[in-house]
């Protein structure tokens, strides 16, 4: 029987710094791993441990995948010590992808905070495969400071995609910044969408999810149309180890993206 816990050896092909503590890595697994936008993988730094990450590359990319990673704990700090040509372990993908058929013909709001834009990038690539399938795609992104903005070279490219727009904000005034200032919810005040039918895909730190959720519901969005990327500790990724449990849900298997309707029963699900 197939071993569910075995990491597939993967070579680090490219390392691209995004911000002082965020880096995008490209990995080439020795056995192919294909994923859908929204799914995640477990990454092992040999001898150190394993942690869950959602790829940030185009799901259509063959033979390799990219993950944008912020240094926060043991595994990510150890990963930073590795060089191009070193190997890591990958297994997955796990969880569900976004249901694009459901998004067809609708206005899509993509809301990211900090490194939370990373998982959304694979979603954005997938949406951009055929942007005409959707009425409008609006990307709203908040970072702490201008230096913390990821994908600085890509954001202007995304602006050029038909049907798409990008808006940015930073948390506090900064000499290098002339754009919008304030936490991410300031970009959600006047979204020119029919909020009753629009879809939102949200990813960021738990505190941001909490307030974005409140704001979007206040603006009239339907709970079943708000998709949150839930942050949990996931050891197995298979709906067994229990670490990511939220009530009856295993975030790893039933998510990692859950709708506001699915989590409405919890007092503070984030």
């Amino acid at each position: 029987m197939k071993n569910l816990y075995r990491p597939i050896e993967s070579v680090i092909e490219d390392i691209k710094p995004e911000t002082p503590n965020i880096t995008t890595y490209r990995f080439r697994p020795k056995e192919p791993i294909t994923f859908e936008a929204g799914q995640f993988v477990e990454l092992t730094v040999p001898g150190v441990g394993e942690a869950p990450f959602t790829p940030s590359s185009d799901p259509g990319m063959k033979d390799a995948l990219e993950i944008t990673i912020m240094r926060v704990g043991t595994v990510t700090a150890a990963l930073e010590q590795l060089k191009v040509g070193d190997t890591v372990g990958l297994r997955g993908p796990y969880g569900h992808g976004y249901n694009f058929d459901d998004f067809e013909g609708r206005e899509i709001l993509v809301v990211g905070g900090g490194v939370g834009l990373a998982p959304l990038r694979s979603l954005i690539y997938a949406l951009f495969h055929k942007p005409e399938r959707f009425k409008k795609i609006s990307i709203r992104y908040g970072a702490r400071t201008p230096a913390d903005i990821v994908y600085k070279d890509l954001l202007p490219e995304w602006e050029k995609v038909p049907n798409a727009e990008v808006q940015l904000t930073i948390d506090a005034p900064h000499p290098d910044w002339s754009g919008t200032v304030g936490v991410i919810t300031v970009l959600l005040e006047d979204v020119p969408f029919d909020m009753k039918s629009a879809v939102a895909c949200v990813c960021g730190p738990p505190i941001m999810l909490k307030f974005v959720n409140i704001k979007l519901l206040e603006k009239g969005m339907q709970p079943e149309n708000i998709y949150h990327s839930m942050e949990r500790n996931m050891s197995c990724g298979l709906g067994k180890c229990g670490h990511c449990m939220l009530g009856k849900y295993y975030i790893c298997k039933d998510g990692p993206v859950l709708t506001a309707a699915q989590i409405a029963e919890f007092e503070d699900p984030f």
Binding site: M1, P46, P206, N233, S235, C241, H243, G247
Partner: protein
């Protein structure tokens, strides 16, 4: 299925025969333990131990450690081997009770979905052990003080889920096969077996009824108005804090629980690479839900104990259609804070009704 009678001496011989081809575990008494009345499992080596105890209630351990090892190597790195390598010797466990086979039911649903019609991933490490392990259950002859199987829909004897069931009666016991594999254990041992008499069956039924009544009687004070499979234990924050007051998050309840299925994958350095083990974990520890960045969805112990108890009564019911507290009472036996699941539920339900 086949039912036979076997005398006590012949039973020892039969177990001895099984031990030639299988690893056989039997419950024995340990005089030096805090609970001398609670037997625990030992491996039968040359002969069946004289201090084997078939009477009383469930042994210290459930069937869990035989099917899901406390620590087990599940992967090596690097390796190109895609198949799981499982160490699953042919094993017979004599001693699980009705509560324990209900515990195995949860494991089946979580780890062996194709056979049990859940939507989970099949786990080779569990499945191979499960397939190679025969369960010989025993009817309880007397409850421990902490037994409460009847409060959660159970019985002090196994109704299904066993390969063979053993009911003690005067002069020996009735062995009832529950599966073909169980029947096979009786093959070739006709010299040790005889027909079950009506008087044996009557005695078995009498025993079962009287133990069931004893369990019901000792739990009368814990009764609440809500059926065990209809609980909403959301409770109040204060009620859960009160329940948690004497919890030190040692995790003993998780370990002895026949339905705590959770684990942690841990990587260790090994020759030429590293190996990954799957270790039992405890949802009461503060690091359990902590993420890399330091976030924690259950930072308070009261939230974690609430999660553990509601997992048994609500979350497992909603996910697998199974209330996974089996009423075995082990979590009460081992708790150094003397937290009693029955009191906890009664307290939470009562306080919620007031709120």
């Amino acid at each position: 299925m086949r039912e036979v009678f076997i005398g006590r001496e012949n039973l020892l011989k039969l177990i001895g025969r099984w031990a030639r081809d299988h690893r056989v575990y039997v419950p024995v008494g340990f005089d030096d333990m805090n609970h001398p009345e609670t037997p625990d499992y030992v491996l039968v080596e040359d002969e069946v131990p004289q201090n084997m105890i078939l009477e009383g209630a469930a042994p210290a351990h459930s069937a869990k450690p035989f099917l899901f090892y406390p620590r087990e190597v599940v992967a090596n790195y690097p390796t190109s081997e895609t198949e799981a390598r499982v160490d699953a010797p042919s094993t017979i466990v004599i001693g699980p009770r009705g509560c324990d086979v209900r515990g195995v039911e949860k494991f089946d649903k979580v780890y062996w979905s194709t056979k049990h019609f859940t939507e989970e991933y099949d786990d080779p490490f569990y499945i191979e052990k499960r397939e190679n392990t025969l369960l010989v259950t025993i009817d309880c002859t007397a409850p421990k003080e902490t037994c409460f199987c009847t409060m959660v829909g159970g019985k002090p004897y196994a109704e299904d889920g066993f390969d063979l069931n053993l009911s003690l009666v005067t002069g020996g016991c009735i062995l009832a096969a529950g599966t073909e594999a169980g029947e096979k254990l009786l093959e070739g041992s006709g010299d040790l077996l005889s027909d079950v008499l009506d008087s044996h069956r009557e005695e078995r039924d009498r025993n079962r009824n009287s133990v069931t009544e004893a369990v019901e009687r000792q739990n009368a004070e814990f009764k609440v108005d809500v059926p065990y499979d209809r609980h909403n234990l959301e409770g109040t924050k204060e009620a859960w804090e009160e329940v948690t007051r004497d919890c030190v998050a040692c995790g003993a309840c998780n370990r002895c629980c026949p339905t705590c299925t959770c684990f942690l994958l841990v990587d260790h350095s090994a020759k030429g690479g590293y190996e990954r083990t799957r270790d039992w974990d405890t949802c009461l520890s503060i690091g359990y839900a902590r993420t890399g960045g330091g976030g924690n969805s259950r930072p308070y112990l009261s939230e974690r104990l609430e999660n553990r108890i509601r997992c048994k009564y609500e979350y497992s019911r909603d996910r697998y259609g199974l209330v996974t507290c089996t009423g075995c009472g082990r979590c009460i036996d081992v708790c150094m804070g003397k937290i009693d699941m029955r009191e906890a539920i009664k307290h939470v339900v009562t306080e919620m009704a007031k709120a």
